[in-house]
């Protein structure tokens, strides 16, 4: 048999499925939804071909899929799933239960907008709604990161100081269905990296009976939530540790965010996921033309690395935050709120403006990004913000 090539042309769904194959979890429960379908289709093929030992449950809904994951993880298994959009919405109440019971489930979420009107394409409305559910959120830029994040997420979630579920997000269709070059690790390297899952209180350990999910009223609920909050406060360190270890092992470095050109930038864009690539390419061209622009890709949105971000933006005059979801009724969208909040404690911070873009899969291109940098240059020069929150690429 031929040795597996180390580089394959894979789309984001297949890259994440390949990572799941190498992780070989005890159980995967899922329900198909575009654009996650191809991920589960690929993984199902691995199960059918006997390439994994995983017990695959094709549930009758996402609510049931994540419920099965909760049960299996409480029982003592390493558990994974994947979904998108309405599927994540349907998982809602179980999201909080998985986090509240401290179950280290790993889920790929292929970002897709929420209906209505009905639309199957990318924006971040689905996962942004789940940002306070107690799950960690890593946003991947391309299929390579979809692969790398999935492997790292297992060790992050299961870390003894954390024990919280992790979402690995990638842009629907843009990343999930676009084929790119993906560098793959050897099966045994991944196996060694993720190690054996050591459950803390498995239900199947009949020598040590345990109850998951008893009634928890006003006399103890707040204390249990406090433990979860305390664990999340350690998440930044855990993500950093695991990312560093992975970087050394794989030769691809990962941090909580990825700055470009920030060493001398006067204006900067903060952005998540695939649009980071578009932004970096634009910034690169502008820097080659002598313009002092920079950009920061936020890889880890939960926990939000406020200090690192505020440090990177300390000497910038104007910042634009690009949000692929809106915060209807809020003053700006979710990422904008985090970034501006993180800068509030600084004596002198940059002007921060918000661009909501790409809703329902609306394309964003380099000319759009260049336009944002032009607006920022104007703000930096005049010190005046004409409009704090703008909508980029929508027809009047």
């Amino acid at each position: 048999m031929m040795e597996m090539p180390k580089i394959l042309p894979l789309n984001g769904d297949d890259a994440a499925a390949f990572a799941m194959k190498q992780i070989d979890p005890d159980l995967v429960a899922a329900y198909p939804i575009t654009p996650q379908t191809e991920l589960m289709q690929s993984f199902s093929q691995f199960v059918a071909d006997g390439e994994v030992q995983t017990e695959l449950i094709v549930a009758e809904s996402e609510h049931s899929a994540l419920s099965a994951c909760v049960g299996a993880c409480a029982a003592g298994g390493r558990v994974m799933t994947a979904t998108s959009s309405q599927g994540l919405a349907y998982m809602w109440e179980i999201l909080y239960i998985a986090a509240g019971y401290r179950l280290p489930i790993v889920m790929n979420v292929i970002n897709r907008t929420l209906s209505g009107p009905i639309n199957i394409h990318c924006d971040h409305s689905d996962t942004m709604g789940a940002r306070d559910s107690g799950w960690l959120q890593l946003y991947g830029e391309n299929p390579q990161e979809a692969y790398d994040n999935t492997i790292q997420a297992v060790r992050i979630a299961e870390h003894k100081d954390l024990r919280l579920p992790v979402m690995c997000c990638m842009d629907g269709f843009i990343t999930s269905h676009a084929v790119e070059r993906v560098d793959l690790l050897d099966d045994n390297v991944v196996k060694d990296f993720v190690g054996e899952f050591v459950p803390t209180h498995p239900l199947l350990d009949i020598e040590h009976p345990v109850t998951y999910g008893p009634l928890d009223l006003y006399d103890y609920f707040f204390e249990h939530k406090m433990q979860e909050i305390d664990a999340m406060s350690r998440a930044e360190r855990v993500v950093r540790e695991v990312s560093n270890k992975y970087g050394k092992m794989a030769g691809r470095s990962y941090g909580l965010m990825e700055p470009y050109g920030m060493e001398d930038a006067e204006t900067a864009i903060v952005v998540l996921s695939s649009t980071a690539g578009t932004t970096r390419a634009t910034a690169k061209e502008m820097r080659q033309a002598g313009r002092k622009v920079g950009m920061i890709k936020v890889r880890c949105f939960r926990p939000f690395p406020k200090d690192e971000l505020a440090g990177l933006l300390a000497d910038v005059k104007a910042v634009a935050v690009l949000d692929r979801s809106d915060g209807l009724g809020a003053y700006g969208a979710p990422v904008f709120n985090e970034v501006r909040n993180a800068l509030y404690d600084r004596d002198q911070g940059p002007e921060v403006v918000n661009y909501v873009y790409g809703l329902g899969g609306r394309d964003i291109g380099q000319p759009d990004i260049a336009g944002v940098y032009a607006d920022l240059a104007d703000i930096a020069a005049t010190g005046k913000v004409k409009q704090r929150v703008r909508y980029l690429g929508v027809r009047e």
Binding site: G100, Y101, R102, L103, R163, T200, H201, H208, P209, V210, T211, Y212, G213, P214, D216, D219, Y220, F221, F222, E223, H224, M226, Q227, E228, D230, A231
Partner: protein, 93 residues
């Protein structure tokens, strides 16, 4: 009331790490009314014992002994089912 332990001293995730302790959870303090029995009317048919959803009718030698007020939630099903109308509810103070 005894001081309850803080978040650093309890099992994570709301787990209960020992078995057979549901009876230690005193649900009786949810009650706003308590059942009171008139023993002159009671025929010890134990219809209340059969119907009580919280197993709060205590029986001894085949006869009604007492209400378990640590766990009785005051639902008054016993009042409804008693064929002798021997039980009534009185407000908790």
């Amino acid at each position: 009331m005894t001081e309850k332990p803080g978040w650093k001293r309890i099992p994570t995730g709301g787990l209960i790490l020992t078995a057979g302790n549901a009876k230690e959870y005193k649900t009786g303090d949810w009650r706003t009314q308590r059942p009171v029995i008139n023993r002159d009317l009671c025929s010890n048919c134990l219809t209340c014992w059969i119907n009580c959803p919280d197993s709060s009718i205590l029986v001894e030698d085949g006869k009604f002994k007492a209400f378990d007020l640590d766990h009785c939630k005051g639902c008054a099903i016993c009042v409804t089912v008693c064929p002798k109308k021997a039980i009534h509810m009185e407000p908790e103070r």
